[in-house]
Amino acid sequence: MGGFLSAIVAVLIFISGIALTAVGSISALVENWNTSVTGTLTVQIIGSPSTTVSKATAVVAALRQLPEVKRADIIARERIQELLKPWLNDDKLIADLPLPALLDVELNVLSALSVSHVTAAIKAIAADAIIDDHRVWLTRIANFAQGLRYVALALMTLALGALVLTVAFATRASLTEYVHVIEVLHFVGARDAHIASQFSWRALRQTLWGGVLGLMVFAPALAGIAWLARRIDIGVLPPVTLPLPYWIGLGLLAPAAAVIASVVAMLTVRRSLSNMV
């Protein structure tokens, strides 16, 4: 049974850990986007600088009266120019550009009703205003992220299924080379329960050791992934960490695998013994 079972369990625990991290990180990412973007609207008011500023001011004043609106602000022209600078890299050109007035609106509740109510209030003052509630692109990103999350969940489920099956088959396969040991123990008068328990404990210990080994390799790997994620520094990715419940779940995998290996070992040895007189 030896190191084979331990090695297999170590690899599977490591893969399960990576899959759990993927699930946790993508969930955090989706949550992050949902909370930070979904409650906001961006409003563009196009026209000559003199009219856009006055319309923008009137719209902001109207919006601030609405109960659905938590916050409504005009984005300063300097800020818009600053945002454009990395793309155009020409201060004179940017200064001459006919920029629209931009409003950043945060809603208390994002719903179709509140968006239509707010839209109506804006259109009443500035009929040509363009309102972007981010739903189109956000829905696509959210769908993509949700898809990734399902893939990660499927990966984790597969890893867990593989863990269960592999532990069971590896334990059985390992024992086939020990049939002669079972036979000799049987011939020298060892009782069935004693022989089965010897192999069962052995499988339990080796699987637990494999689990510990897998966690020992996974922890620095997680730290490495987290460090790489931090280096990206674009504020889009949430920090890569494994929440405590996930650690507990991962920690419980090794004992669960050990119990499976132990039971399979006991049943396999009992079956071998049942073929002997």
Partner: protein, 243 residues
């Protein structure tokens, strides 16, 4: 030698009783049928017969690798076919078997292979150490205590197998060609071990093709040929009672 110091308490039941015993494997014809025999305590018999006569099959019944397909086999008064698995384990603890293929555990040292039956019955560590050490010295394997079976010659493996079979001072010793891989001097020494154990009360059966051994040691023979078991007297002057 500690192994030979105290006598075994003799059991009232004969160690081996065969009544019309038959054996066949699956649907194949009987290897033998209707064998009847009683072997008492403190007896030593050679089991002889041509190759293929069924000697190893008969021994396999005695060390409980098989059950009879007909008749009744009693070991220490217990009908083995009726005995529970736990009871059969208890019977196995009272017998020692030397297999033709030795059946040593390759991952255990010579010492641990020989100690195995003592560990199974939960013997104290001191007893294990003393008995195994003395027995391995007796069979001429001093200096190989820590060796693994893979590095041993056929003769050395055979001696380890014999030491393992007798280390618990079993009441019934079944040896299948126990001297097949050793020279005459070692063969004689090993036979002497069986003789000593039989004098202490064990029932010993030695299957062999070694005619010199059968002539050298004056013990009766169980001759198996064409499915018939005959009890023949010792070739030289008889020194033990026949069955």
């Amino acid at each position: 030698m500690a192994l030979f110091r105290s006598k075994t308490k003799e059991n009232d039941s004969d160690p081996v009783q065969l009544e019309g015993v038959a054996l066949r494997y699956g649907n194949s014809p009987d290897i033998f049928s209707d064998l009847s025999l009683t072997l008492p305590v403190r007896s030593l018999h050679f089991l002889t017969g041509p190759s293929g006569a069924g000697k190893t099959s008969l021994l396999s019944l005695l060390y409980l690798a098989n059950l009879p397909s007909g008749g009744r086999l009693r070991l220490f008064g217990q009908d083995v076919a009726q005995a529970s698995r736990a009871k059969r384990s208890t019977i196995r603890r009272q017998l020692g078997a030397v297999f033709q293929d030795f059946r040593l555990l390759d991952h255990l040292s010579v010492f641990d292979n020989v100690a195995l039956p003592l560990r199974v019955i939960g013997a104290p560590k001191e007893t294990i150490k003393n008995n195994v050490t003395e027995l391995l010295q007796w069979v001429g394997l001093e200096g190989l205590f820590d060796a693994l079976p893979q590095i041993l010659s056929g003769g050395q493996k055979q001696r380890v197998a014999i030491a393992r079979a007798v280390v618990t001072r079993p009441k019934l010793i079944i040896a299948d060609e126990p001297t097949g891989n050793v020279d005459d001097a070692i063969a004689e020494r090993l036979m002497q071990l069986f003789v000593e154990l039989h004098k202490l009360g064990a029932c010993v059966i030695v299957a062999t093709h070694n005619e010199r051994l059968v002539e050298r040691f004056a013990f009766p023979r169980l001759h198996l040929e064409r499915g018939t078991l005959s009890v023949l007297p010792a070739i030289s002057q008889p020194s033990t009672r026949a069955v």
